[in-house]
């Protein structure tokens, strides 16, 4: 089972970790390169900034449900979802999303691997 600590240790696959407000708390270098952000800028962003506008309502609703009920339909499975780079380019990537309480804080993390990449 993948843990948040595993995500911190991952360097080859793009990784993002957010808090229960969706604020981005951690990304690895591979993530920053893929999404075309520098480290400082990405840490001032919210997870909505890497979700295409079409899917933001669905994310808001689903994320709210998870925070309130801890019921999720998307955790711990490989899912092909769209993401958006800082350049506006939308691409499809395989997401693997997990959640864990770390020091009394709920963190949600994901690996995001573009479809077609090795």
């Amino acid at each position: 089972m993948i843990t948040i600590q595993n995500l911190y240790d991952e360097q080859d696959i793009p990784v993002v970790i957010v808090n229960n407000q969706g604020d981005i708390k951690y990304t690895n270098k591979t993530f920053n390169e893929l999404f075309v952000y520098d480290e400082l800028t990405i840490l001032s962003k919210n997870i909505l900034d890497i979700i295409p506008p079409n899917l933001r309502d669905a994310h808001n609703i689903g994320f709210s449900r998870y925070v309130n009920t801890k019921e999720s339909k998307i955790m711990n499975q490989h899912l092909e979802l769209q993401a958006i780079k800082s350049t506006g380019e939308i691409f499809v990537a395989t997401h693997y999303i997990i959640s864990e309480m770390v020091d009394d804080e709920m963190l949600v993390g994901a690996t995001i691997k573009p479809v077609g990449s090795k």
Partner: protein
């Protein structure tokens, strides 16, 4: 925005999502290019796909709808008529053929966040129940009418039988007379005696009476068989399921058929006048459905007249048509008591009836309304005056809209 406020809003969103997931209908939120932004759990369960796999896909890619009568698909309709809402039935083939009722409209939000809302109800079971109810009502109607038609046939059959007995007896006399003449010609040597005997026998047969009665008897028999033939044809036309699709049909013929098969239902209660000119009586409809509609309205008019006049005197049912550019309007009018203003808006509601318990189920007009406004692409209106009577107007389309898909 404070964290507390965000948490409150998240709580509200969650409650709404959970509530919307519990209802049977599917609800979708699309952006204006048709991409699904959100759907409730009922929709993902209905199409048996993961919620997350649906989001971001185009509506037409996720659910392939087929028009029933060439209607535009929901998104095409909304693009063409952005200020209108759509309520329309479509076919949907999943594992089985389903019928969906779709409501679609544009949400009144700021321009940048405008969306389409689509609500989908699977009405297949409801349609099947309606079909069964319609069929059982039709069978019940045919059963009732069959007794009436049998009664209508009984009179001509009786006099045809009497006439045949009369012809049998008298033709026998004529044959005997002819045979007698033949034998006499062979046997008699005196012409005078032969003439006297023929005259006596001729007078016994009463040829004068037969000359008058036999042609009349044959004519009446022919009339009788024509009545029976017409009744059998009408009954056959009435009960035949026919096409299930809209067809150009002769509405006058439908009226005549129904009037024939219902004659025994109204003839002791009311006169019935048909004022429909030949020609210009064709409209698109489904014959079996229209048969049922006209029959129900005639029987309703009969019931209303019976309630007003009882056995004292007969009322009048008038059936006539008017042509407009797009519709053939069929009017069925009675001179009964009329419908009170306080109930006239409810008469097409299912299970609403003003008839005495056991006399009406309140389904007749509801089924007529549903059939006319959905399947038959027509409409029904009612005008009524207390003490003077009621007129139902059925509008049937003369052209079918061929809308681009």
């Amino acid at each position: 925005m404070s964290e507390e406020l965000i948490n409150q809003l998240r709580g509200t969103l969650s409650k709404l999502e959970l509530a919307l997931g519990l209802i049977k209908e599917s609800i979708l939120l699309l952006n204006l290019d048709g991409t699904i932004q959100w759907c409730n759990e009922s929709f993902s369960n209905y199409i048996e796909k993961k919620h997350i796999e649906i989001l971001g896909k185009h509506f037409n890619e996720v659910i392939q709808l087929n028009a029933i009568h060439g209607e535009m698909l929901p998104l095409d309709y909304l693009k063409k008529n952005p200020e209108e809402e759509l309520i329309q039935e479509y076919h949907y083939k999943n594992k089985t053929h389903r019928i969906l009722n779709i409501y679609a409209a544009k949400t009144k939000l700021e321009e940048s966040t405008e969306s389409y809302v689509i609500v989908i109800s699977d009405i297949t079971s409801k349609k099947e129940r309606e079909q069964i109810m319609l069929q059982s009502q039709k069978l019940e109607g045919i059963g009732t009418l069959a007794a009436g038609v049998a009664h209508e046939m009984n009179t001509p059959i009786q006099y045809i039988n009497d006439n045949m007995a009369f012809l049998r007896d008298n033709v026998n006399d004529v044959i005997q007379f002819a045979e007698l003449i033949c034998s006499m010609v062979q046997r008699y040597d005196s012409v005078e005696k032969l003439r006297n005997d023929i005259q006596t026998t001729y007078e016994n047969v009463d040829f004068e009476y037969l000359r008058q009665e036999v042609p009349a008897c044959i004519l009446q028999t022919q009339n009788g068989t024509e009545i029976i033939t017409r009744l059998v044809r009408s009954m056959k036309e009435f009960s035949h399921p026919g096409s299930k699709d809209l067809d150009l049909i002769d509405v006058k013929r439908v009226v005549e058929t129904v009037v024939d098969v219902t004659r025994n239902e109204w003839k002791y209660i009311s006169e019935l006048e048909i004022e429909i000119e030949d020609g210009c009586n064709k409209a698109y409809s489904i014959q079996s459905e229209l048969n049922q509609i006209v029959m129900n309205l005639i029987v309703n008019a009969r019931d209303a007249i019976e309630e007003k006049y009882g056995a004292e005197k007969k009322g009048i049912i008038k059936i006539y048509t008017k042509n407009t550019e797009d519709f053939l309007e069929l009017f069925i009018e009675d001179n009964a008591n009329g419908i009170p203003e306080k109930v006239i808006n409810k008469i097409f509601d299912p299970f609403f009836t003003t008839k005495a318990p056991g006399k009406g189920t309140g389904q007749g007009l509801a089924i007529i309304y549903s059939a006319l406004t959905s399947k038959l692409k027509g409409s029904i209106d009612v005008q009524s005056k207390i003490g003077e009577g009621t007129t139902f107007k059925i509008s049937l389309p003369k052209k079918l809209k061929k809308e681009s898909k």
